[in-house]
Symmetry: C2
Subunit: 326 residues, 2 copies
Amino acid sequence: MMSKYSIAEYRQRFAPVIEKIDEIIWEITKTRVGLINIATRDLVESGGKRLRPLLVVLSARLGDFDKEKIYHIASAIELLHMATLVHDDIIDEARIRRGEISAQSKFGKDVAVFLGDFMLSRAFDIFTLYLSRHSLRKLNKVVGLICEGEIDQYEDKFEYKVSIREYLRRIRRKTALLFGLSTYIGAYESGVRGRNLSNIYRFGLRLGTAFQIQDDILDFVADPEESGKAIGQDLINGIYNLPVIYLVQDEIFRDRAREILGKDRLSVSDVVDIINMVNNSKAINQSRELGKRYIEKSQKYVEHLPDERVKEELNFILSLQLNRQQ
Amino acid sequence: MMSKYSIAEYRQRFAPVIEKIDEIIWEITKTRVGLINIATRDLVESGGKRLRPLLVVLSARLGDFDKEKIYHIASAIELLHMATLVHDDIIDEARIRRGEISAQSKFGKDVAVFLGDFMLSRAFDIFTLYLSRHSLRKLNKVVGLICEGEIDQYEDKFEYKVSIREYLRRIRRKTALLFGLSTYIGAYESGVRGRNLSNIYRFGLRLGTAFQIQDDILDFVADPEESGKAIGQDLINGIYNLPVIYLVQDEIFRDRAREILGKDRLSVSDVVDIINMVNNSKAINQSRELGKRYIEKSQKYVEHLPDERVKEELNFILSLQLNRQQ
């Protein structure tokens, strides 16, 4: 109840920003090729939270805010994110993404590969137009690290002996770096430097980590109707995320969990067993605790920021994050 | 015999350039992730002709040649090309590429998607470092058009009623634009402007068209041992290229060809029938004629260039193109 109210509040509070972002994405991806327009429209209309571009915009308000420039950069960040989702879906063979049929199962992987590439090229064109070379290079580095992370994750598939430290390293590249990049370039491109720049960057990184932890929890406890994500998707794909890592260390369920996860192939009932064990063990609570620690870390960086209005918005986002159901 | 000799001569003549290009590609793609290094090494060692980066280098010699800069740009162009090959293979499900098992069948599409993205991000980083904003924007535009072309090609799959005009439009985006871009940015980044710039650009576009036409011919007549490409690959994938388009217009074979290509699914014997008809009809000769016309157009643009040594190298490449078997 509480969480549903919060998401509604989020959408209401940031509606003008989100609408503007969607408008620009729609405008910069427009093309003569009908299939691309259909796919982009689906992605825009599927109604993501636009959290990354929102972070660009809010961070930019710490400095000299150039609306035209910042909103274009923010939209390109979301487009880059959408491109990674489209490519991700080819790998996961995910049929549902944000409650919608994914691009890959709708059009086939033929289209999904180059649809993602097309989005990347349009995002890069906006970046080329508006970003300083310093930010462009930081962006390229982050995109490279995201790709490395995805390939590492592939190599670690079906590997359940993962330490929390290794897990954190994985989700840094998978999610946190793009959050960090969003806050960084928003601020940097508005002329923010020094302590303020490093605080907003660190805030973004920690928030991104907390965000991914919550995503991982939702893979086990979410209501698919509400989250738009089928349960156990990561597990089925051999991506053993935080709750599973805790489960494998759980005194009561450890042996049974290892026995199942050590198999060459998981049956449907194996998957159900793991999901039930996760829900009956301390794994979910432990994951929540870790997520909470990262939210608290983010809060610490917000405290030192100079702008009261921005601080209030960022704290609102943090408070919502803790109870996010989608 | 003649053609084999020529390819050997090409490799010998341009060995120093090709070695330097490979060295830089290897250096800019180096990463901590083992799988990426293995895949990149395979791609580098599979020994492509490095025609696109060579065009960058030769075109750059028309102006003020900055070795460090031009060789890096040239290598990034080849890396961009490799990335599109890796992504292409996901679509084609090609198992053989340049005589080697393709990245996708070796590592699975999980890796191939993000391997391609990784290469793109490294290429973009080099472009960001060395290219003027003018060239960067031209590059982004070309990459966008290539993606649009790939998606268009997907929509036109199994469509045999294609005019020569539509075909030329398709291969412009598929191949010719990247050739044109290579000659353009090589020259532009060396300070070439005006007539010389537009002549070298047009040369590149026409050469690219001729190159793709020859590729399409080789899909029907190549010796797989020599070309490193299985025969009839495009045909099987529903990409009806130039010889098929001519076959469908051939007085003798038209009806039989249309009957087969109109089927919902081609059997192996259907594919063999089409290949045989192509080889027995005028389709191959007509395709060769069209390719030759584009070579002649390219030659015309070379004539007007100001540098005798560059002209000689470009004419050598053109003469080789006509008889290329791989």
